[in-house]
Amino acid sequence: MNPVRQYMPLMPGWTEPVMYAVLAGALVALGLGVHRKLAGYGVTMPDLVRALLSAYRSQPRQFRRRLLAQTVRQEKVRERQPGGTIHSLVFVSLAVLFLGTTLIFLEHDVLRFFDLQYLRGTFYLVYEAVLDAAGVALIAGVLLALYRRQMLRPAHLETRAADIWVLAGLLWLAVSGFALEGMRLAFRPVPWAPYSFAGYALSRGLVAVMADVRALAPIYPWVWWSHALAAFAGLAALPLSKLHHLVTIPLNIALAEPAPRGRLSMPFNVAVLAESGGELPEGIGISAAPDVDWRRRLNLDACVQCGRCDTVCPALAAGRSLSPRGLVQGLRAAIARDPAGAGSLLGAGAVTEQAVWSCTNCYACEEICPAGVSHVQFVADLRRSLVADGRMDARQSDVLERMERNGNPYGLPSFSRADWLLSRGVPTVHDNPEFEYLYWIGCAASYDPRLQQIALATVQILDAAGVSYAVLGNEERCTGESARRLGEEGRFQLMAMENIALLQGYGVRRILTHCPHCYNVFHHDYPELGGAFEVVHHTQLIHQLVHTGRLPLSAAGAATDGAGPAVTYHDPCNLGRLNDGYDQPRELVQWATGGPVREMAQNRRGGFCCGAGGGNAWYSLPETRKISHLRLEQIAATGAGLVGVACPFCAAMLEDAVRSTGRQDELQVRDVAELVAQRLVRAPDGPGR
C-alpha cells in the first residue's frame, strides 16, 4: 500500500485555473476591505506595521507573552463556559483545516516544481485522520454555537443575522468537505480510506443505501464549487463580518499599551505645561469621532459582542442605563458611520450621559474581556469632555467644588480634619520627623466616624509592632482620586501637585494607606506628576508584620479560633483587580478570625464592586437595585456572619446596605485592620515610637 493524496480528483482540468481566478478575486475583495478598514481607522499599513514593530521592540517578552496567552492559548476566551469550549472547537478545527489546506497548496503549487511530495505514506494517513477529526470538531462547534444562539439565547448575547450567516458558512464548509470526501471514497475506494474515518463512514453509508453511487457523480462538481466558494467568500468577507476579529483582536492585544491597569491616560501635564509655557489642549477627552485615534478605533473594533462584560457589570446588574458592550458598540458604530464626523458621540446608541456616569470604574469588564477592549478609559474620556463642557449635574459639580475648596469631597472643614486622631496622641510629621511610613488617612476615614475606626485599628497595629510612622494631621488633603475618575483632570493634577510638594517637603519616601483608592492613585497616577513614592497598602504591611512575628498575639484571641461567625471577604476593586492584592487580605482575615474564608460566587478577579468607585460614592443615579445590596446578597449567600473588607468605601457601602436592610444582627462589616487589631495584646508603649 502506498497511500498518496490525489490532487483535485473527479474535477475537470479547467477547474484549477478557474479556481485560482476566483481566489484572486476574493483576495482583491479582501485587500479592498482591509484598505477600507484602515482608512476608517485613519492609519496606513506602513504606520500600522511600524507601530507593531515598536510595540515589539519596547517589550519583546511581554509582547510575545500576551499574544501567546490571549490569541494562541486564548486563556480569557476559555474562562467562560459554554462559550469558551465552543470557541475552542471552532478555533482549533479551523486552524487545523486552514493549515491542512495550506499544506496542499504548498505541495501542489510550490514544491512540485522541485519534485517534492510529502502528502504520502504515514504522514498522509495521519494528515487524513487529523483533518477529518478537525472537520468533525468544526461541525460540533458550529452546531453547539447555533444551539446556544437560537435555543439557549443567553441574555447577554445579541444575535444578528450576520452571526448566523457566518456560522452557516462554516457549517457548510465542513459538511460539504465531508460530502466530497464521502463521494470520492465511494466512487474510487482506496485501501487507506478508513484513515479518513468520517469521510469513509459516509462513503460506506452511501454505498449501503444507494444502488449505484455513481448516480451522485453529476452533483460532485456542484458541491465542490460550493465548498470552494464558501471558503473564498469567508476570506473576502473577513474585514466586513465579525470574522475580522481574527485579525483585530491579535492586533489590539499586540498593540496594547503596557501601562498598568489602574492608571488612566494623562491628556496633558500641568507641571510640564507650566515649565514649558505651553497651552492647555483645546478639548480633552472624547466628544466626537476625530477625538478617537486609530489605536483606540482598533480597540473598539476588536469587540466581537460576546457580551461577557455585560454579565459582570455591576451598574448593569443594578439596572442602571449602562451596558459596557453597548457603550463600546455604540462608539464603534458611530465612528464607523462617520469617521470624521464632528457631531457628538453622546447619543449614539447606548452612549448616553447617564451610561457614562453609571460606571464605577471597577474594571470587571476589562478583566473578563478576551479582546482587550479598554472600556474604562473610554468612560473616563467621555467624562472628561462632559466635564469640560460643564455637562454635569449639581452633585457632580458640587463634589468637585468641595474637593477644591475644602480639600475633601464631603465639604467638611479641612482645619479640623484630623482632630479626632491627634487628640489620641498619634504622631504628626512634626512630632516624629524621622518616621519611616507616612500614614495617609484619606478623606473617608478622616470624616466618617465609623471609618475612623479603621485608622485607629491600623494605628493600634503599628504601635504594637513598633513601626515608625507619622501622619500629616490637618495638613492632609484629598488625593484628587475622585476628581480624576470623574473626568476633572486639571483639578486632579493641581491637587496632586500640591500633595506632592507637601509630601516631598516632609521628606516622605514611603506612604502607608488603608484606602485602596488613595493607594492606586499614589501608586499609578502620582509618579507621572513627579511624585514617586513607595506606596504600601495596610494589608501588605500588616501581612508582613504578621509573618515576621512582629505582632504580639493575644492568647484570648487565639482561644476563640473557629468559634466566631463564619467569614467571607469582599475584594475592593482598587486593591484586587487594579493591583492584584488578593491573597494578603484573605490570609489576614483567616488569621485574625481563625476561620476559613468562605468565598462568594464572584471573588478575586471576578469580584463584584460595592458601588462606590469611579466617583459613584458622591452621587446617585436611577437604578432598580443598589449595587451594594446586590453584593450584600452574595455575602449573605455564603452564610457568613462577618465580612472582611480592605477599603473604607466598601465598608461604608456594605454597612449602609446592612443597615438599610435591617441585618445589623446578622452581619458585621469589618476592615482587615479592625479584625487584626482585635487579636492584639494591648500595646505597652505610646503611639508611633
Binding site: 452633585r395 475648596r405 472643614p413 482645619f415 461604608a652 443597615r659 438599610s660 436592610t661
Partner: protein, 297 residues
C-alpha cells in the same frame, strides 16, 4: 461723602431692593439710577446688554456699579468691568469705603469660613450682590429706572434662544427656610403623617435621609438631604430620628440652627446639633406639636 451709584437688576423690583441695601452708602437724598433690560426682549443676552450699560456708566461716571447676582447679572458684571477697564467682585456681602474714599467690598472666602475685604484701585467698582443678601425691596429709596435695549446685532448675534421652559420642581429644599427631616428612626410609613403635621405647624418643608428616599421610597428623591441628595442651608433644621452619617451631615451642616431628636445619645447627629433631645421620637414629636399648638393659641 456719598457714593454715586448705578444699579443693574433684572427687574425694577430687584433694583429697589439693591437701592435700599446700598442707601446708607449712597446717601438718602439723591435718587439712584437703575438700569433694567427693556421689556419685550424675552431673554436678552449679557453680551448685547453690556455695550449700552457701559455707555450709560461712562456718561454717569458712578463710583459704584451694583449688579444683582442673578444668572444674567453674573454674566454681565465681569463683561462690564472688562469693558470699563476696572475690577469686579462677586458675592459681596458688605460694601464700605476706605480712608482714601476707595470702595471696599467684603466677600466670603474658603467656603465662608473667612471674609475677605477687597479694595478697588480703579473706578467704578463693579460689585455683584445676591438677592438673598439685599433682602426684599422695602421701597425706602427713590429709584430712577432706565430700560436698556440690547444692542441689535451685537456680540450675542451668534446665539439665539431656541426653547424656553419653566423648571419643573415640586419642592426646592435648598430654598427652604425651615426643614423637618426624618430618618431611619421612623418605624412605619404611616408615621410620616406626624412629621408632616409637625412641619406644617412650623411652616417647614419635610425632608429625609437617604434610606427613606432610596431604600424605602417613603419620600421622593427631591426630599433627600445629603451627599447624594440636596444640600440645604435653612434657618432651622430639625432632624428627627436621623443618626447623622457623614453623608447626611454634609448636606445640612451649614444650617443656622440644628435641632436633633434621637434615642441614641452617642448618635453623631448630636455633634452638629445646637439643641438635642435624647429620647423616643414617638414621644418627642407629639410633645413638640402640642407645645407649638399651645403657643399658637
Amino acid at each position: 461723602m456719598s457714593l454715586s451709584t448705578l444699579l443693574f437688576a433684572d427687574t425694577a423690583e430687584q433694583a429697589g431692593a439693591l437701592a435700599d441695601w446700598v442707601r446708607p452708602l449712597a446717601g438718602a437724598a439723591a435718587p439712584v439710577l437703575a438700569a433694567v433690560p427693556a421689556p419685550g426682549v424675552p431673554a436678552p443676552f449679557a453680551e448685547d446688554l453690556c455695550p449700552p450699560l457701559a455707555d450709560l456708566a461712562r456718561r454717569q461716571a458712578p463710583d459704584l456699579i451694583l449688579v444683582a447676582a442673578t444668572p444674567l447679572g453674573r454674566e454681565l458684571a465681569p463683561r462690564l468691568a472688562v469693558r470699563l477697564g476696572t475690577g469686579c467682585v462677586s458675592d459681596c456681602v458688605h460694601i464700605g469705603r476706605g480712608e482714601a474714599g476707595e470702595v471696599l467690598a467684603d466677600r466670603p472666602v474658603f467656603g465662608g469660613v473667612a471674609i475677605a475685604t477687597v479694595a478697588f484701585r480703579t473706578a467704578p467698582a463693579v460689585c455683584l450682590v445676591a438677592p438673598g443678601v439685599t433682602g426684599p425691596n422695602r421701597g425706602e429709596s427713590s429709584v430712577v429706572v432706565t430700560a436698556l435695549t440690547p444692542e441689535a446685532g451685537g456680540p450675542g448675534r451668534g446665539k439665539r434662544v431656541v426653547q424656553q421652559r419653566e423648571v419643573e420642581r415640586g419642592v426646592d429644599l435648598s430654598a427652604a427656610d425651615r426643614i423637618v427631616a426624618v430618618g431611619r428612626g421612623m418605624a412605619r410609613r404611616e408615621d410620616l403623617e406626624q412629621i408632616r403635621e409637625l412641619a406644617a405647624a412650623l411652616a417647614a418643608e419635610v425632608a429625609c435621609s437617604r434610606p427613606l428616599a432610596e431604600d424605602l421610597g417613603w419620600l421622593g428623591a427631591e426630599r433627600q438631604v445629603g451627599l447624594t441628595g440636596t444640600t440645604v442651608r435653612p434657618a432651622l433644621y430639625l432632624a428627627v430620628g436621623i443618626s447623622g452619617q457623614v453623608q447626611h451631615v454634609t448636606g445640612m451642616k451649614d444650617s443656622r440652627v440644628v435641632v436633633a431628636i434621637n434615642n441614641n445619645r452617642a448618635a453623631p447627629i448630636f455633634q452638629v446639633a445646637d439643641y438635642g433631645i435624647v429620647g423616643d421620637l414617638y414621644e418627642a414629636v407629639p410633645a413638640l406639636l402640642a407645645a407649638l399648638r399651645l403657643s399658637e393659641s
